[in-house]
Symmetry: C2
Subunit: 167 residues, 2 copies
DNA sequence: TCAACCACGTTGAGGACTCAACTATCCCTG
DNA sequence: CAGGGATAGTTGAGTCCTCAACGTGGTTGA
């Protein structure tokens, strides 16, 4: 399976991508950790909760939206719960399930953290780019994500298309 | 400091970027870990060493090229040394320093791991993109990296430009 | 020559993530 | 309504990373 190696263009695109993403996430993580005491992944969880009705989501739904594994989310919510920023509650209709709710304290933390984080996102990612590049980046990332949905046509599986999961 | 919030376009670009990068690195890390028993970060270290004269680099130079902290690199080389893929050697002319060398065993591992990794990079990142998008992605990432070089004009520091570090 | 300073790299503690195994609950079929 | 299989979520061990502190060796200037 001697895969065709990357072309020179692809090679350089790949290295630039590796470097740029490493840099971006390192800056953002450091900024958030320093100024708000949470990593980027946790900030995202709080954002997702803050946007949900009643600031509440089922664990599995939260995992899906944050693109994390159940395990990762469970560990993360453990910590956020310890911090008092999120509360867990049993789901009355399905007793396997739990809801995660953003507490007032969590909302306050998020509100406090947002301006610094947004400024960092701007300065590290958007400021250097032209509007056309921002649009292009978005199209590229959405393309990659679309492709990600149409998973490996697992050998033997016929129709794996899921009934649109109304985002 | 109520930073201007992200525009709707920026917002969506940002979320797509978060999602796409998360997906890409998750896939690649999983593939490498499963098929070659190393995370992407270690693979990159081996690549950098394999390209260097005598497959050898000073720790600090390796840290710079891999964009990792000295600490991270030190831990990583610990592990790679335990695996027998890299060897450390004192620098004779500067006794604070060390060289890291890719061993034959390490080179063999890298050679074995490369095809699968490259195939994964293609399938997850490049295959979904048009050539124009690949070029665009590269330009975008290089722009972000350029900007990263011109660090914060630290208050009070006059000329922080470094004497081009011959790449 | 010696003190102050800087550069190289390591160390250890603690946090976040992965993977596999596990419990508990729900649902479907016979 | 029993049994099997899927689904929801948790748990613990192990890995990788970060941060701050440290030892050691080079360098510079009075």
């Amino acid at each position: 399976m001697a895969a065709r190696p990357l072309s020179a263009d692809e090679q350089q695109a790949w290295r630039a991508f590796l470097g740029a993403t490493k840099h971006v996430f390192e800056q953002l993580d450091r900024q958030l950790q320093h100024d708000a005491g949470m990593p980027l992944a946790y900030y995202d969880i709080l954002v997702l909760l803050s946007e949900a009705p009643d600031r509440t989501l089922r664990m599995s739904e939260l995992a899906r939206r944050s693109r994390s594994s159940r395990s990762r989310l469970s560990h993360a919510v453990d910590r956020l719960e310890q911090a008092g920023w999120v509360a867990r509650e049993r789901c009355p209709t399905d007793r396997r399930g739990y809801f995660a709710t953003l507490t007032d304290e969590g909302f306050a933390q998020l509100t406090a953290a947002a301006p610094g984080h947004i400024a960092a996102v701007r300065s590290v990612l958007f400021d250097p780019l032209s509007p056309a590049q921002v649009a292009s980046l978005r199209a590229i990332c959405e393309r990659v994500l679309d492709q990600a949905g149409e998973q490996p046509p697992a050998p033997g599986s016929a129709a794996t298309t899921l009934p649109a999961v109304g985002e």
